[in-house]
Symmetry: C2
Subunit: 265 residues, 2 copies
Amino acid sequence: MSQTSNLQRQAKLSDSCFSIRTQMERLPLQATNIDALVSPCDKCEARSHSACALLDPSEQKQIVSIMTTVQIAPQQPLFDEAEPAEHVYNVTGGALKIYKLLPDGRRQITGFLFPGDFVGLMHNDVYAYSAEALVPTALCRFSRRRLEDLLSEIPHLEQRLLGMASHELAAAQDQMILLGRKSARERVVSFLVMLSNSAVRRHQPADPVSLPMNRTDIADYLGLTIETVSRTFTQLKKQGLIQLLDDKNIHLAKPAALRDIATGF
Amino acid sequence: MSQTSNLQRQAKLSDSCFSIRTQMERLPLQATNIDALVSPCDKCEARSHSACALLDPSEQKQIVSIMTTVQIAPQQPLFDEAEPAEHVYNVTGGALKIYKLLPDGRRQITGFLFPGDFVGLMHNDVYAYSAEALVPTALCRFSRRRLEDLLSEIPHLEQRLLGMASHELAAAQDQMILLGRKSARERVVSFLVMLSNSAVRRHQPADPVSLPMNRTDIADYLGLTIETVSRTFTQLKKQGLIQLLDDKNIHLAKPAALRDIATGF
DNA sequence: CGGTCCTTTGACACAGGTCAAGTAATGTGG
DNA sequence: CCACATTACTTGACCTGTGTCAAAGGACCG
């Protein structure tokens, strides 16, 4: 694909942007690739400050010209930690997990990524984490070097990236208080509330929360074991706070109470 | 101070940059304010890619013109979480902690900051965390709005900030694996190794590690209790891995072994 | 229909938390 | 210079939330 002309690339791009549907997820792709790169931040409720407005059509064209699209199947790695970082990606459909490992295999999932999210944090030219698809996933790939060239030409873009980075940083700090100071129950509830909020941001229903990841992934994200995650779900169910429609879909029966638990009240 | 002329500001600035010495710390201030803003990243060993080289003298002058200096005493807050964020800061001397609280008072310290570090992450125009001095601390303050204006004029600066943000993000992920997956022993050792590395980056000796913070702060940073931190120090001491010169100064007796423990071997 | 994988549940263990007391360092007023 | 208070750190005894180990569903699939 890297040998195709820009024109061909653009054509494929449009294909992917407007018509891809993942098989297991019912996530409609609501954004063009451009929109994805400049989509609203991961934490704000508002969609108001999309940087798309800051880019004029010729600038948009420039971005499109250095993009290719990638699709990966569930369980497929996108890249591994410490691998030379040649690309950055923007998720357009599906879901990914990013994680770090300790030498003995202990794993910490540092984030789940959904359409609109940016992937490819690097440190000293290597990726800072591994990334793997949870479900069939579509991404836009940017050559890192060419994107950097573009950054100096389109200052708005850099501003946008800086904004994304600081929101990710804020999210990372929320995760630190979760991992350092919250109980298992608070962690699980925080996780459900977070997924629900994230769905709303992507114009999906807040309520039956869909979990594209398995219990092991949830445990490795929350710093718990699968047994504790499972027991906590059972406990919340018995207390009438949630309902497990099935393994992967949870109904938040008392959203207000759950929000209180998540924030530590 | 905000009413003084730029010239006066610059004079004060130089004072603060070259002559301030904190009372409790023996941290010489090795950088000008400009250097601090563009000082090497928090995680790289190399000082090579200082963005200072990217700024021409007139650009440097522009930065200096929107700066004022601030000094705060130990235990003094710099700002609180959720407060409107009007300034960003660069630490030039001393040390700070940044933290978040849960409603019932549980606290997670998300970072300790030293000369060269940047403070003032905001989200939706309010600070994302509280910041408080550990020891007498000197900072350079930038009006956020004026800095933003400057960013559009000096693209290099934005690049530099983006670099700082992604390194902070990488550090945040290291902290997540620590909080989510490491034992108390591994956390404490990781902390000591991290402080030692951080001292080296600031051109100070790697070995007697100086702890400007108390046990409560260490516990709240590592997601433990003060008792566990204290017991772990004692255990490491008994095993001949460290030596407590006093409460606040620790000798790393077996650095290689400690590094292995920290990385999870 | 047997195998595989994921989730749930149960019994038990233990790392780290809690509560309480002891020790050391520092400051304060007489 | 000394009683005394204060604060920070350490240590001990005990407890509990979460981990560990093991087994039992349950869903999916060839």
